[in-house]
């Protein structure tokens, strides 16, 4: 647990980078510091490992004032990941990762064994061990940066805009990788970013900071999206926070329509009778997997002539945001719901998704807003 208590950073020229900030950063979770440039988020992070010394206030790690620890020992007890990875170009990947264990006095062999173990953990091919940083892509270099930070198994990980310099697809992969690693290791991670989407993707708790180094709001992502503290936070969240908030609502309780799903080979008359005025039915194969949409009044039973159903969503795993997205993109306005094995469970039109959203909101309002439910954590882990 990192406790930041009334910490300020003022520079000699009068600039205030951080203004009387208090923040509790719990163990086993990712706390994101987010805000526009000049809001003091990086300064705050760098005060935790004393790369910058605060002008006033106290920072404690597990109750102990960090000023009382030798600075290099303090830093070795915290992993540190920076924007461009900051790898040592003259060292191989393996030796880059082995840096902190070597500083801690481990033998070369033990440090390298540990480094090899970490390469595996962050998803790096073992053949890269003997390569030099210039031979790796930006995304791979950043994985090395994360592995290097984790090498001595520090309880705390400080990440300063770690994924900002890579392209969006690679960034997505790195974010998912971070969540996976965090699921296995459960560190206290402090993550700085200027990207709200990234904050919502990786954060268990998000501290939104405003210019001048003040804390604007400190909350779980879904709470931030559903009830921003003020206009600044609302604007920083962007224009579609309502839609984004749906990422935290599960499709588990979505009521599905089973009346329009038919296996291939169903008699045409039966199709026309059972669907009534509804223009389209979903045809599945013998295993119950979706094939496509058919208009019963014209469809002749040819599988090739079906209208493609696009993408489906998985009930329980995907969020209502995904379900709504699928419904909007569907040629019939109905999303295809499947189970884990890809078998059709039913369909959900935009109205059904809308009803589920309203129901979930009411349930959410009835719960305590300070208690981040397991439900939201579960949905977050996949999207």
């Amino acid at each position: 647990m990192i406790a930041i208590e009334e910490v300020s950073k003022r520079y000699a020229d009068g600039t205030v980078a951080v203004d009387c900030l208090s923040l509790q950063i719990p163990n086993h979770s990712i706390t994101v510091l987010v805000g526009p440039s000049g809001c003091g988020k990086t300064t705050t992070l760098r005060m935790i490992n004393r790369m910058i010394e605060p002008s006033s206030g106290t920072i404690r790690v597990d109750g102990e004032d960090i000023q009382h620890k030798p600075v290099n020992a303090l830093r070795r007890s915290m992993g540190y990941v920076i924007q461009n990875a900051g790898l040592f170009q003259h060292r191989t990947i393996l030796d880059n990762i082995a840096t902190v264990p070597r500083l801690l006095g481990w033998s070369k062999q033990r440090a390298r064994d540990r480094a090899a173990e970490l390469m595996e953990r962050v998803g790096l091919d073992p053949v890269m061990a003997r390569r030099y940083p210039y031979q790796l892509s930006g995304g791979q270099q950043q994985r090395v940066g994360v592995a290097r930070a984790l090498a001595a198994d520090p309880p705390i990980l400080l990440m300063d805009e770690p994924f900002s310099a890579v392209d969006p697809v690679v960034r997505r992969g790195l974010q998912e990788e971070l969540l996976r690693i965090q699921g296995e290791l459960g560190k206290a991670i402090v993550f700085v970013t200027h990207d709200m989407d990234e904050a919502i993707t990786v954060g268990d708790r998000i501290a939104v900071m405003r210019t001048g180094g003040k804390l604007a709001q400190f909350a779980a992502p879904d709470e931030l999206l559903s009830s921003p503290a003020d206009q600044f936070v609302e604007e920083f969240l962007g224009g579609d926070r309502g839609i984004r908030g749906l990422s935290f609502l599960s499709t588990r309780d979505l009521e599905l329509d089973r009346s329009r799903v038919f296996p291939v080979g169903t008699d045409r008359k039966q199709l026309a009778q059972s669907t009534g005025p509804q223009p389209h039915v979903l045809i599945t194969d013998a295993d119950g997997k979706p094939l496509g949409w058919a208009d019963p009044s014209v469809w002749d039973g040819d599988v090739e002539a079906l209208t493609p159903y696009g993408q489906s969503f998985e009930v329980g795993r995907d969020s209502l945001r995904i379900a709504l997205d699928r419904a909007v993109l569907s040629p019939t306005g109905h999303a295809v719901a499947v189970d884990g094995a890809g078998r059709v469970l039913g369909t959900a039109g935009q109205e059904r998704v809308g009803a589920a959203i309203r129901a979930a909101r009411q349930r959410r309002a009835a719960e305590s807003p300070d208690d981040p439910s397991e439900d939201s954590a579960q949905v977050k882990a996949v999207r």
Binding site: M51, Y80, Q89
Partner: protein, 224 residues
């Protein structure tokens, strides 16, 4: 007679290969002066260049000192030292060292100062001491450039060490000074050729040191 004839007759004269004025002896003296001067210059220039480059402070003072040192006429300094200190190796060493320090100092300072700051930040954040940051992060990254400063200094020393002959010392400059005095141009050209060969030797030595000491991870990057 053209220059090539001079070179041929100088090097094929077997008398030039024997005794205290023979080529092996003079080359050996020349190498000794050069290595001594380079070692002293490096002992002064490298630490100052490394520390100022690491802290990023004192760059202006360095530039001033180096410009002043470069402006000193080497030959004039030699004569002055000779008048002050009399005969011996010291009056030769002073101008050679003064000549060699600026390229070592300035190149080392610039090489360390311009190292990519992000690995340095990462190293500091991981809890590396400042000394280790300098020796294990900055120097390996800057080594190629640092060596190039030493190399320019070495070439300048080798070509300038010929002046030792003016104050009655040896080295291949002996042939040039004596040849000019005796109007024996074969000797002058021979001495000049030996100086050029020694300078080329310096290039070869530094190339080999660079191959061995600079990490492939950095070498490739500089070339790219």
């Amino acid at each position: 007679m053209n220059v090539l004839n001079f070179i041929e007759s100088f090097f094929t004269n077997s008398a030039h290969w024997r005794g205290y004025d023979g080529i092996p002896q003079r080359v050996w003296e020349h190498i000794q002066y050069s290595v001594a001067a380079l070692s002293i210059a490096a002992a002064v220039g490298l630490p100052i260049g490394l520390v100022t480059g690491h802290t990023g402070r004192g760059g202006n003072a360095l530039a001033f000192v180096s410009a002043a040192a470069r402006a000193l006429p080497t030959f004039g300094l030699l004569v002055l030292m000779f008048v002050w200190l009399g005969l011996g190796v010291l009056p030769v060493m002073v101008p050679l060292v003064v000549l060699a320090i600026p390229p070592i100092l300035i190149t080392t300072y610039e090489a360390v100062r311009t190292v990519d700051p992000s690995p340095v930040d990462a190293a500091r954040g991981m809890g590396m001491s400042e000394g280790k940051i300098l020796l294990q992060v900055e120097v390996p990254a800057a080594l190629q450039l640092i060596l190039s400063g030493l190399r320019s200094a070495a070439i300048q020393i080798v070509s300038t060490a010929t002046i030792a002959a003016y104050v009655s010392l040896g080295g291949v400059g002996r042939y040039i000074v004596d040849g000019l005095y005796q109007r024996n141009y074969e000797k002058v050209v021979g001495g000049a050729t030996l100086t050029a060969v020694l300078a080329l030797l310096v290039l070869v030595v530094f190339w080999a040191v660079g191959r061995g000491a600079v990490s492939p991870g950095v070498r490739r990057r500089r070339a790219a």
